[in-house]
Symmetry: D2
Subunit: 105 residues, 4 copies
């Protein structure tokens, strides 16, 4: 996420005076709500509409970026930091090709 | 998201042979599951552990980035494209300071 | 849900002094959180552990019953009342064998 | 849930030939999707519309009852059985007035 992209998001929110609604908790609820709309694309199996999928994923990402900005975090850095932790928790030679959770390996 | 960061995610998945599990539908389910773990940070009110919050947000973002990569989309571009649509749907002068959905304005 | 079953739930909550946490909003969050744990049973495909599935469904139902009790509603009556509405929205002769939403029929 | 209520649900599904869509996994996805619509009632704080809340809770319950029926379980019995387990996990004298998870007590 570039600073210019964050600025576009912040301007969008500021123009609408929506910052008052964007507490971390409300943003967390919003991420769950939008994640469910993304899941709805796959609710009954069947064909997936690619444009619809992109829009729903965009909505989840938007609220994630707003929450990251609210707590002063860079989304990409969050992901890379967590990746290091997950590398240690799921060593490649133990989990290769297995989908169990770490406490069931 | 830089190409280097995507490469780090892809290498992590490839080393574990987890690509077989990462269908768009399974990633969408995973986003909902991780979004709920993020919501759990706020389940009963009370104080929020910042490190915990960052980790749970990182998990949602990780699956979002994996899904974006799977469908050949750039996360930041998805957000910016959707922002343009939302600008049209929620004109600033109509929605200022209001949290209603567009169909209830 | 019999009155005796509701009484058992209420006693469980009262013994733990948990009613203070059980606002309608916190219960709604809890339903989403438990629904995601139920979804996790199906996260990567593969075999389903029946006992695990029952436990996770029980957790969703428990919070649903607590919320119903909080708003003075009977779970079964809620379902039957909504069924009447859904019958009108999705007439059998139009939707037979189709999974589209009502606004896409 | 009485047998008559289950029969009404089954008839509704059968008339629409929707049983083909109602795999346990699809029902689990549907429970998460409807749980998020229930959460949406509380998304930004503010007043809650009681009729709307009842409808959304009814939708979650409906899919829970359909899943219970699919796996041959009685919803009320599931809840009461789980309550016994939770009693043991969260002894009243230890958890009174506390909202921590059992692994953080």
């Amino acid at each position: 996420m570039t600073e210019a992209a964050f600025e576009a998001l912040r301007a969008f929110v500021a123009e609408r005076d929506w910052s008052q609604f964007h507490t971390p908790e409300n943003l967390a609820k919003s991420i769950s709500i939008e994640a469910a709309e993304l899941l709805e694309v796959f609710q009954w199996g069947g064909e997936v509409d690619d444009a619809h999928l992109r829009e729903e994923l965009a909505d989840v990402l938007t609220y994630c970026f707003l929450l990251a900005d609210k707590i002063g975090a860079d989304p990409q850095q969050l992901v890379l930091d967590k990746l290091e932790q997950t590398r240690a928790k799921y060593p490649a030679d133990i989990v290769r090709g297995r989908s169990e959770k770490y406490d069931q390996l």
